[in-house]
């Protein structure tokens, strides 16, 4: 066990820091969920990252990445958060779509989709959930009917993050009409501006339009858009969910920066940050560090050829609960000002915490509700009966 950075690791971190200092926009970008303008500003940031070859640190070089391991990715994510870089509108592509394509795609599919994913030229949404298929994803009803050299897609998808402004969606369809549950499903891509696709924004809890419903009516796509074999959709989804719940969905640096800002907030409002609140601030600092240490430990294991299994579910529970606790502590310090929207004249830096608080409430729900994660831990880690 050696918890010091090698000279090469230190140099890499310094390189990230220097690049971020030179390239991070000086003013925060408008939200990518609230407007086309904000979305395109974030797409431009993806392009800038890609030009510096910082967009996809863990991807192979031929697809626009750096071909580096998880350790370097953690170093990159640290520099990114430290510099206050914009959030990644391409997050889905980096840690879910891309790795899934690399594992299950044909060479032609990889060549067609990955470079544009890396550059942000094409930004992807996910179209898995349906009104009747949430935690019970195997209840998917949307269909892909084979038709000549392609498929005809029909159905109703929902809760698709980024779908309002994204270019493509990564959909889960029932390709075998007589099939049930997790059999007979296929993963098929479609353009969100294709004829027959209607995207209906859903106002989120905070009033913004971060996710959408997608209605598909006789949408024709070529067979080229199917990932993996027909009927392999469920297996691919499970692999993707592993990437997601694993370490790349939420970098520890984000929480460490939130904890750092929370301590600064506590210091700036000492009168409002005593007793229970101060204890919550300290717990937030400790939890952010614990999460980081756990992720570094997992990364070391994975880089040495290990695998991540059900313990990825422990990560998801821990960070999502921590995120809420960090923001609750901040709102507690802000007291009666906590309810102010960022547009209120007296808001100051309040809005950022309020936005973050509402966003944090999604954490225990998306990417597999925490109750499902607890079932996974209980059954697959602890071996309890189903």
């Amino acid at each position: 066990m050696n918890l010091t950075y090698s000279p090469a690791e230190t140099a890499f971190r310094a390189e990230v820091r220097a690049w971020m200092e030179a390239n991070v926009p000086s003013a925060p970008l408008p939200s990518f969920d609230a407007s086309r303008e904000g979305f395109e500003a974030h797409r431009a940031w993806e392009r800038t990252l890609n030009e510096g070859r910082w967009g996809m640190v863990t991807w192979p070089e031929r697809y626009g990445g750096r071909g580096r391991g998880l350790g370097r990715w953690l170093g990159f994510a640290g520099g990114e958060s430290r510099a206050g870089a914009p959030l990644r509108v391409n997050q889905n592509g980096i840690c879910r779509r891309g790795p899934t394509l690399m594992e299950f795609g044909t060479d032609e599919q990889k060549a067609r989709f990955l470079p544009k994913m890396a550059s942000g030229e094409e930004i992807w949404a996910q179209a898995w959930s349906e009104p009747q298929a949430g935690s019970d994803l195997a209840a998917v009803r949307a269909t892909a009917r084979r038709d000549g050299d392609g498929y005809v897609l029909n159905g109703h998808k929902i809760w698709s993050s980024r779908a309002v402004f994204a270019d493509l969606a990564f959909g889960l369809f029932r390709s075998d009409p007589g099939s049930e549950r997790h059999k007979g499903l296929s993963l098929i891509f479609f353009r969100l501006d294709a004829p027959g696709v209607r995207v209906q924004p859903i106002a989120q809890i905070d009033g913004e339009t971060g996710f959408a419903e997608i209605f598909l009516e006789d949408v024709r796509v070529p067979a080229f858009n199917r990932l993996g074999e027909e009927g392999q959709g469920w297996a691919i989804c499970m692999a993707t969910a592993g990437f997601e719940r694993g370490l790349m969905l939420r970098s520890p640096a984000r929480f460490q920066m939130a904890a750092k800002r929370l301590v600064e907030l506590c210091r700036a409002h000492e009168g409002e940050c005593d007793g229970a609140t101060r204890a919550a601030v300290l717990q937030g600092v400790m939890d952010a560090d614990a999460y980081a240490l756990s992720i570094y430990a997992t990364a070391s294991r994975l880089m040495a050829g290990g695998t991540i299994g059900a313990e990825a579910s422990t990560n998801k529970i821990f960070w999502s609960e921590m995120d809420i606790a960090l923001h609750r502590a901040a709102l507690s310090i802000l007291g009666a000002r906590a309810e102010l929207m960022r547009t209120a004249p007296a808001a100051g830096d309040v809005g950022r915490w309020l936005d973050g608080y509402f966003f944090s409430l999604a954490g225990p729900i998306y990417a597999g509700a925490n109750e499902i994660q607890k079932n996974i831990i209980a059954e697959r880690m602890l071996g309890l009966p189903r």
Binding site: L282, L293, K374, L384
Partner: protein, 353 residues
């Protein structure tokens, strides 16, 4: 950066786990609890046979010369087994402290006897209100005021303070008969005593993580067997979620404990805050896991018959041993509010700069 244990570290821990799985089973604990004996002599002999009591004493002084990262898995295994004998305290605190301070022949001779397994050494440290296992020790290291004394066991007037943990033997030192036996003065001893506290807290944390895992494992085993409404109770989500929640707490205490051990030697505000964080997180995990195990066992969990209470009691004891929660929170606060935070300070070495 490599957050993995070496094969050698894993193998050594595995051999201790195997030894304790043979010799420190719940029925062994019960047999000892029902007897008047302080220790299981055969088990202690087996432990001493591996030289573990000298694990953290430098090779030049006759120990194994291991580092804290080498010992942390062993301490965790001792927690997992609820080991009654004072291996962790001797190996990680008392004997390294004695080795650091022993300058004269008498002290060196006591150290040699302890390393040979002939005696144990108890410790009265200002961080703890009592001395553990003082009645069975051959010598007592006592920090009094600013000086450190090395007392012969025969000179001690001990007053037993019964612990809820049937295997903890706590004593007040009722008199100061060994005042002339000073082996170090304040200036010499300060650093060594501080380091002793950090080792004590780190390896208490490691034991607490082991205890927590054992509590979950006991409850999981019971939940698979125990049937209600025609099914194992472990098939119900209410029970699954209790256990999963406890396991999450363990998963995010364990790496903190390992990191604390790996950078223990740094001995500054950063490594000390990490030690304190480890102790707090491990105590929380053990508390939750043990209470969860009681709950999952239902009424059986409240009985003497089920083994959970041994672990619950050890967790309670170790959670305030080597500094209580107030002490450790204060050290974390000192670091969190007084030094830079953020992703560039994850590890104690990089935080120091």
């Amino acid at each position: 950066m490599d957050f993995r244990f070496t094969d050698e570290q894993q193998m050594m821990a595995e051999s201790v786990r195997a030894l304790l799985a043979d010799l420190c089973r719940p029925e062994d604990l019960r047999r000892l609890a029902a007897s008047d004996a302080a220790r299981d002599a055969a088990r202690w002999d087996a432990i001493v046979g591996l030289g573990l009591q000298g694990a953290l004493v430098p090779e030049a002084r006759g120990g194994l010369g291991l580092g804290a990262a080498d010992f942390v898995l062993i301490a965790e295994a001792c927690g997992y087994a609820c080991l009654p004998e004072p291996l962790v305290e001797n190996a990680s605190v008392a004997l390294p402290l004695l080795a650091a301070l022993a300058r004269d022949e008498r002290a060196s001779a006591i150290l040699d006897r302890a390393l040979a397994g002939e005696i144990t050494v108890a410790l009265a440290h200002p961080a703890n209100p009592f001395a553990a296992d003082a009645d069975t020790a051959g010598a007592l290291l006592a920090a009094r005021g600013d000086d450190v004394f090395l007392c012969d066991a025969a000179d001690l007037a001990l007053e037993r303070q019964e612990s809820i943990d049937p295997f903890r033997r706590l004593f007040s030192i009722a008199s100061r008969p060994c005042v002339s036996m000073a082996i170090a003065d304040a200036a010499e001893a300060r650093g060594a005593l501080d380091a002793a506290l950090d080792r004590g807290a780190t390896f208490a944390a490691a034991q607490l993580v082991g205890i927590a895992q054992r509590a979950v494992d006991l409850a999981v085993a019971y939940a698979k067997e125990r049937q209600q409404f025609g099914k194992p109770i472990g098939s119900y989500q209410a029970v699954k979620h209790l256990l999963a929640t406890a396991q999450v707490r363990i998963e995010f205490a364990r790496p903190v404990v390992y990191a604390a051990a790996a950078q223990l030697a740094q001995g500054d505000v950063f490594s000390r805050a990490r030690v304190s964080h480890a102790r707090l997180a491990a105590a929380e995990a053990a508390d939750l896991a043990c209470r969860t195990a009681v709950q999952v066992h239902g009424a059986m969990g409240y009985s003497w018959e089920v083994d959970v209470h041994f672990f619950l009691k050890r967790a309670l004891a170790l959670s305030s041993w080597w500094g209580d929660a107030v002490f450790h929170r204060r050290r974390v606060a000192e670091r969190a509010f007084g030094r830079p935070l953020g992703p560039d300070t994850t590890f104690a070495a990089e935080a120091r700069g």
